[in-house]
């Protein structure tokens, strides 16, 4: 496939081409001390020159020495907030006389372009697709948003300490289909993006950009940057062999490690809300004071709440031990049975955004150690 070079000075042309094609462009931007995902109007909205320092329970913005646009790792938001809305109306009902009319909520679904989707995030979107689009219980709201989506993927050229995509085989290089794939390269005074079209829509956007053909040297620089990122992660403390996770967890329902983690876990649900694959929601049914009008809303839920497993008589998972075990076992084991893949893509969000720094990779290690005595 033919690759092209887009000078960093022309990055705004890409954003404007997407906007002109009718897309609402969503991408990274600085807000409240973090890099979040929001609507992007121009290149100036991007977090140029910013990176991050991440550890368990800790995230800090950091000035980079270069002017990289995508020199940060996964932040507090994930793309799921645009596809599986945190809250949305499902239907409303109106009583008139003796009849009742139920009307499904109709959404005006925007065509969105996600700018800067990482490889692990493409895997996360694919995981949610298996839940909401291809599985037997299709979610129309998600499916419609997803169908119109344009993805500009970015190969990772820097990773946070919390990243472990190499362990989950989801990155740092892009391995799943996308509309455009780019690699940001900074080499001395040179700053460019190596671009590749991945779909007809992607090719169409490429045609509108001031591009030059990529040379051997451009390719090498781009590959080196991604390889260095993989090496950095492979040497880090969160690199592990994930091949036996499912069997490991199925053998260890009664591991003493669950009690230990339950002492620390706040059952606050931050991990599941931050996770790009966690898909659970609940519905809230309400009436107004007159009782003539009723509404159903869908909103994100989490297996860490008491209501999640509440049935007549109480919560099935009343204690934190059973909630944490449910979460981790679903992510790393039962997800395979349900959807044929891991429920974890190794983005590290649950590690950084857990207030008390509970680290899923460390917990895997603890279970292993407890088992081997």
């Amino acid at each position: 496939m033919q690759d092209f070079v887009l000078l960093a000075a022309n990055l705004d042309r890409l954003i404007q081409a997407l906007r002109a094609a009718g897309y609402q462009v969503m991408g990274p931007t600085l807000r409240d001390g973090a890099i979040v995902y929001d609507e992007i109007h121009a290149v100036g909205d991007l977090p140029q020159g910013w990176g991050d320092d991440q550890e368990k329970g800790r995230y800090r913005l950091k000035r980079r020495q270069d002017g990289a646009y995508f020199g940060y790792a996964a932040g507090p938001h994930s793309w799921k907030k645009f596809l599986q809305l945190p809250r949305r109306p499902v239907w409303q009902a109106q009583k008139t006389g003796h009849s009742m009319q139920i009307t499904a909520a109709v959404e005006t679904v925007p065509a969105m372009a996600f700018l800067g989707v990482r490889s692990c995030e493409l895997h996360a979107i694919a995981a949610q697709d298996r839940v909401f689009v291809t599985d037997q219980y299709r979610n129309d709201s998600y499916s419609q948003r997803r169908a119109k989506l344009f993805t500009v993927a970015v190969n990772c050229t820097s990773a946070a300490a919390t990243c472990f995509c190499t362990s989950m085989q989801t990155g740092p290089g892009v391995t799943l289909p996308c509309d455009l794939e780019m690699t940001e390269v900074i080499d001395g005074a040179e700053h460019f993006f190596l671009l590749r079209g991945g779909s007809a829509d992607g090719e169409e956007i490429l045609r509108q950009l001031p591009l030059s053909p990529a040379t051997e040297r451009h390719h090498r620089l781009a590959q080196d940057a991604v390889r260095r990122t993989a090496e950095q992660m492979a040497q880090g403390p969160r690199h592990f062999d994930s091949a036996d996770l499912q069997a490991l967890l199925y053998r260890n329902y009664d591991s003493p490690s669950w009690d230990q983690v339950a002492d620390r876990c706040l059952s606050c649900a931050n991990c599941t809300m931050a996770c790009p694959t966690c898909f659970c929601s609940t519905v809230e049914d309400t009436t107004d004071l007159s009782g003539d009008h009723a509404e159903r809303w869908e909103r994100w839920d989490s297996c860490f709440t008491g209501d999640f497993s509440y049935i007549s008589g109480g919560a099935v998972r009343a204690d934190t031990r059973s909630r944490y075990r449910q979460w981790m076992t679903h992510k790393l084991a039962t997800w395979y049975d349900q959807f044929g893949s891991s429920g974890c893509v190794g983005c590290g969000r649950c590690i950084a955004w857990c207030p008390v720094g509970i680290d899923i990779t460390e917990e895997v290690q603890r279970i292993r150690e407890a088992e081997s005595g």
Binding site: A34, M273, G291, W300
Partner: protein
Amino acid sequence: MSKTQGRPKLAVWKFASCDGCQLSLLDCEDELLQLADAVDIAYFMEASSEQVRGPYDLSLVEGSITTEADERRIREVREQSKALVTIGACATAGGIQALRNFADVQEFTAAVYAHPEYIATLKTSTPISTHVPVDFELQGCPINKKQLLEVISAFLHRRPPQVPPHSVCVECKLRGNVCVWVAHGTPCMGPVTHAGCGAICPAYSRGCYGCYGPKENPNTSSLCHWWQQELDADRATVVENLRNFNAAAPAFERESRRQEQRHGEE
């Protein structure tokens, strides 16, 4: 307008409190007319001196029990009410005035009043549920008016109120806030605090200070540990956050006493 026939009778009662929660009801403005249509507001001294005698279908109770007269009156209220819902931190957890539970109330009255001998008060401030059975507790200081309307609607139409008891963190994430604890190192009570406010404080880059009281299944000791070990919070900050409007909520009270005790040992 006297079409009171057939409409459920609502009463609003006040015990030791600041009136803020009752005012949330008056603050409902647009919905107030709808409320007046749906119920017969039979007793609500803050709004009208007109009083309709009991029994009442739904009683909203604000305030905590701090005197012997209160103790008697809440029993009378209970007897006259089919359903009793407590509103606010005072009624559900004893309120800020429950700080007396941790000290000597006589010392307080002596310090504050010129003639403390005229003050007849109990040693403690206690929630309504200590004295009579309560059908539902709506937490918050003050309560959220939308939640109040939701609870009233739910009771009127015999359905469960949508007042989830999970953490403020859930609301914070739904809103897309950047976590002030993780990203700024600001101590935040959100992970142990009951949702309902919509995560207002973190939305303005402040830590939650727990005004909605404990969430279900709160792990206060793990939170306090991290605050002190990783966020450099001192013992006083920890105790102040546990011991404000919901000081006597069991989970917060236990933890603040434990923290003080550990301090004493060190």
